[in-house]
Amino acid sequence: MSYLELKNITKEFGKLAALEDVDLQVEKGEILGIVGPNGSGKTTLINVISGYYRPTGGEIFFNAKKISGLRPDQIAKRGIIRTFQSNVLYEGTTVVESMLISSYQQYRTKNWQSFFETRTWKDENETVVGRVIELVKLLDLLNDTFLPAEGLSHGYQRMLGIAMAMIANPSVLLLDEPTTGMNHEEAMFVVDKIKKINEQGVTVILIEHNMKVLLDVATRVVVLSFGTKIADGKPEEVMNKQEVIEAYLGTETI
């Protein structure tokens, strides 16, 4: 069984099936790209994996354990962390405060240990602060550490979103269009960071609109169209498939 496995996942909103019988295997350490036209169910897929929605049919396994039907926090605890399509932040906090709130899963110490400020809590606190600095450097937020998160530009808010997901200690990172609203240069910067994150041993599932970005970063690509999987394979192969071109550009009518 694969690292993360989706079996016949269906998600229906009333009569509309946003996802229909989607099978997906994700191997440890890969960067999986998910593409598809608008409304093809990409974000629904992430919402289903992360527990925001419960699938109406099918099962999800992670590390050979069933995770479908669990609450988002239980899924997050198992190491599947997501980012959001829009800039979702902790209102009124600075960058470092957001990072410290998000560092919740970095700690092994229990709540009561932190309450009594035990030695282990203090030590762990130091390591976490070290990790925060590391991530803030990695994602180019060092100059903005003490700025209010809401005051950052769109691009940096996207980076903060990834940083907050990273400090939550993921083994699988679900990125929902990390490059929205960016020009090619900025998108390539993000791609570079995603590769670096992947090198740290994090499996990445990436939703992307921009084909160029995807070709550059993904080791495997899955194409969704109207809630079904129409292609799965190496980026170059997938992009030349007839179904994929049709899904994007429409069918030829004679």
């Binding site: 902790y90 009124g92 709130i101 309450f115 907050m164 939550a168």
Partner: protein
């Protein structure tokens, strides 16, 4: 909403000096009226601290007076009806109130927000109506008459609760100190961060592994326990408890005191807000204009919301005074984003 505690901003020596001065108050004045007012505002402070802790998780409780009532009545029933001594009844009052808040919290805090506010509002009324109608136990509207705590003998020195309000003054201070200490520790621990996360963005917090209900219930239960203890002390200090003492207006007062004091600090805000508004309210009861107290309180809340918004409250003025005047730190101006 900011969640910095001014524990780290204001030097410990200043806090120590203030505590020392407060401890000396009974030396300068033994006026019963003054001390009573301070004791009662101290008791309300504990309730307001509880409310502020719940608000820190983003939940608006409109029924905190219910826990004062549960605490007060538990303690009264156990001492008067069952003849228990004061101390076990006092702690039982906290426990009873804590258990009620735990059970209510586990049911309502799954959804939280407006439903929580409505249910706590209803809880306040239910508790009041039970106190009114359960004649054989609570004596209905006539209320229960309590006795003060028994004297404590400490190495030949007798602390007599019946003779003067001074022992109550120190007892209240102890209760505030214990509550403040626990809330401070909660504020600095993982719990404090989790509370902030849960309040500031529940969806994001949940996707980062925080169990929303767990942290909301913890805050609500801790608040329940201390509010219950405060309720017990309240009943024993006034030596009478009736259903009229705890109603919707009292819950709203707690809310107003918390907001005016500021929720950016779990301890300083409630203390400043309560002492200011309780003193004002006490003065206003002597003014014979009908409805002047709610009117003025409402005006103060509006002023605070306009001039000190986002939960900063009056305590923020204190924080700003320290950072600007005493430390002469330059105000931080965020750069305008330029790309």
């Amino acid at each position: 909403m900011r969640f910095i505690d001014y524990k780290n901003v204001v030097p410990k020596t200043v806090i120590g000096l203030l505590v020392f001065l407060i401890l000396l108050i009974p030396v300068f004045t033994t006026n019963v009226a003054t001390l009573s007012m301070l004791i009662l505002s101290g008791i309300w402070t504990v309730a307001v601290m509880g409310f502020t802790l719940v608000l820190r998780t983003g939940q608006f409780s409109l029924g905190q007076s219910a826990f004062l009532a549960i605490g007060g009545y538990t303690s009264a029933i156990f001492t008067v009806k069952l003849g228990w001594p004061f101390w076990p009844s006092f702690f039982l009052a906290g426990m009873a109130s804590g258990i009620v808040s735990l059970l209510v919290g586990m049911v309502v805090l799954r959804v939280g927000n407006i439903y929580f506010s409505i249910i706590t509002l209803a809880l306040g009324e239910i508790v009041r109506i039970i106190a009114q109608q359960w004649e054989p136990v609570t004596r209905g509207t006539r209320g229960l008459i309590l006795s003060p705590p028994p004297p404590i003998i400490l190495g030949g020195f007798k602390i007599n609760f019946e003779a003067s309000p001074v022992p109550y003054f120190y007892f209240t201070l102890c209760l505030i100190a214990v509550t403040a200490l626990i809330l401070w520790q909660i504020g600095q621990s993982r719990l404090g961060r989790a509370f902030a996360g849960v309040a500031l963005n529940p969806v994001l917090a949940e996707h980062q592994g925080m169990h929303l209900m767990k942290y909301r219930v913890i805050a609500f239960t801790v608040a329940g326990v201390f509010t219950g203890l405060a309720g017990s002390l309240y009943a024993h200090f006034l030596t009478v408890i009736t259903p009229y003492v705890f109603g919707l207006w009292q819950s709203i007062q707690i809310m107003i005191m918390s907001i005016v004091g500021g929720i950016s600090s779990l301890v300083g805000g409630p203390i400043i807000g309560t002492i200011l508004l309780y003193t004002l309210g006490d003065y206003l009861t002597r003014v014979k204009t009908f409805g002047i107290q709610p009117l003025l309180f409402g005006a103060i809340v509006v002023m605070v919301l306009i001039f000190l918004p986002k939960g900063t409250g009056l305590v923020d003025l204190w924080g700003r005074f320290w950072t600007k005047v005493v430390w002469r730190e330059e105000e931080y101006e965020p750069d305008t984003p330029d790309d």
